[in-house]
């Protein structure tokens, strides 16, 4: 037993040394989460707004999505940097009150009781990190970097492009619910999967990976 523990220590030490060196060398993929506030870029929209047009109507922001929340739904998500391309099922809230994960581990899903990607607000797309037997659609999600592109095609034929602002690993018992689902005065997207340690006893991952993105 002592021998086993000693080997364990040795393996752990080697692993840590290697990863510490990698981190110092700048290979830590989650560099966007080092604590500085995200230096947001000014939005790309630069047109003049027209004055004096004040019909009695509800208008969303930005003007590109003027009108009520669209009836469009997202049909495909693409993450070119990771080679991910998936159609989308509709997700809802399960009996436990939590967001249900997609039925098919190979397919991502969109939370249909929230904003549509490209509309005002934070749209949510979730996908499994793995199935019971191997990798799933969002296996590599944690490898995204700030500024990586995410594209969503909608049922109205439009494609909305998002840029990653932050990739964050959060403990599932400290999930940032309001940040993910709360009001946003912008066109945002959140991608969610599991991460961290898998607890075989409880059959669950300890963490979620949450990717925050804004429309470009």
């Amino acid at each position: 037993m002592r021998f086993a523990a000693a080997v364990g220590f040795a393996l752990a030490a080697v692993f840590l040394a290697a990863t510490a060196v990698a981190a110092v060398a700048g290979h830590g993929p989650l560099r966007s989460s080092t604590g500085q506030p995200i230096p947001a870029r000014p939005a790309a929209t630069g047109e003049a707004i027209t004055g004096g047009d004040h019909r009695s109507a509800v208008t969303d922001e930005p003007p590109a999505t003027a009108g009520r929340p669209s009836a469009a739904r997202p049909v495909q998500v693409r993450i070119p940097a990771l080679g991910i391309r998936s159609s989308l099922e509709r997700l809802g809230i399960g009996a436990d009150g939590a967001l249900s994960a997609p039925r098919d581990p190979a397919q991502a899903g969109w939370y249909a009781d929230g904003p549509t990607p490209g509309d005002l607000g934070a749209a949510v797309i979730a996908g499994h990190v793995d199935s019971t037997s191997g990798h799933a659609v969002f296996w590599r999600l944690a490898q995204l970097h700030r500024s990586d592109r995410v594209e969503v095609t909608r049922s109205d034929g439009t494609t909305v492009r998002f840029a990653v602002q932050e990739v964050r690993r959060v403990r599932r018992d400290r999930f940032p619910t309001v940040e993910v689902y709360g009001p946003l005065p912008d066109r945002g997207l959140r991608l969610i999967t599991c991460g961290g340690l898998y607890d075989h006893q409880r059959g669950r991952y300890r963490d979620n990976i949450v990717v925050f993105a804004l429309a470009t």
Partner: protein, 305 residues
């Protein structure tokens, strides 16, 4: 015996990884998605069109101009980094270094949203900075406020068709506090508090989890009011509880009964460049301590069948 030995060794490794992961998560910032927003409004009925400039104090040449902004206009929110900004109104086409008609400064805090509005009659027009509260309304509800920018009707009432009062005798120019209303399709009605003048109504799909601003304006032509409702921010209609169970464990590097247990993200600390060396130091101290004593290693999370 050989495989049991290896398994325990791997289990020890994985168990030692666990505290490292906790340290790293603890080192992560609580919130780094702290984008701030500023938008601009022209709410002075008898002030002609202007160009509105938003300029950073930092001298990083961030400057944004909205040209030909007329009464009733409310721009989209602009993403800005926190810091000090100057908002200036100039005659249309005037150079950015020409003296402004009006200007004010705003300190933009991380994660906050602001509306900077030119308000009041032209003779005494001024720029007002509103710190917009875009925090989450209670479950099943939305939040709504009224900006009274009609000079023709100095006092205005705004209510729902079901009689819920949103603003009572709101004076020109003013902004009410946000009121929470149940989410549903509302017909909002604005009317002068006293005297004649026709009321105006607008039908609004007030969705749960969203924030709205109702602008009361002088009608474009003739007398009377115009009511414009803007969705300032949108959230999920229903907010799921907690996290998402988006993994089934089959991608972990050891099969059933195996020791290691990590999605690909384990290697990628959210502590980034600082986190791993720190974790390595903490764990090295831990290892030294552990080596002094005989530790019976429980494989905890990782060695379950």
């Amino acid at each position: 015996m050989g495989s049991g030995w290896l398994r325990r060794a791997l289990a020890a490794t994985a168990a030692l990884m666990l505290p490292g992961a906790i340290v790293l998560v603890g080192a992560a910032p609580a919130s780094a998605v702290a984008t701030s927003y500023v938008r601009l409004a022209h709410l002075s009925p008898d002030t002609p069109q202007v160009d509105v400039w938003l300029t950073s104090f930092r001298g990083d040449s961030f400057s944004k101009v909205l040209r030909g902004v007329g009464y009733g206009a409310l721009s989209p929110y602009e993403r800005v980094t926190p810091g000090r900004y100057t908002i200036s109104m100039r005659k249309p086409g005037a150079a950015s270094d020409s003296p402004p008609l009006l200007s004010t400064n705003v300190s933009v805090r991380a994660g906050h949203s602001y509306t900077v509005a030119g308000v009041g009659p032209n003779a005494s027009v001024r720029l007002r900075v509103l710190d917009d509260d875009l925090s989450r309304p209670s479950a099943g509800r939305a939040r709504l406020r009224v900006v009274q920018a009609s000079s023709a009707s100095p006092r205005v009432d705004v209510s729902t068709s079901t009689g819920v009062s949103i603003a009572k005798a709101a004076q020109f120019p003013s902004t009410t506090a946000y009121v929470e209303v149940p989410a549903q399709r509302w017909t909002l009605r604005a009317a002068p508090t006293s005297g004649g003048g026709a009321a105006t109504t607008v039908s609004v799909d007030v969705t749960a989890g969203s924030i709205f601003t109702a602008l009361v304006l002088d009608a474009k032509s003739g007398k009377g009011l115009q009511l414009v409702v803007r969705r300032d921010a949108a959230g999920a209609n229903r907010m799921p509880a907690g996290s998402v169970a988006a993994g089934l464990g089959g991608g972990t590097s050891a099969g059933p009964g195996g020791a290691s247990a990590a999605a690909p993200s384990l290697m990628r600390s959210s502590g980034g460049v600082v986190g791993w060396p720190l974790a390595a130091l903490v764990l090295a101290l831990g290892l030294a301590g552990a080596a002094m004593t005989t530790v019976r290693l429980a494989s905890r999370d990782c060695d379950a069948g």
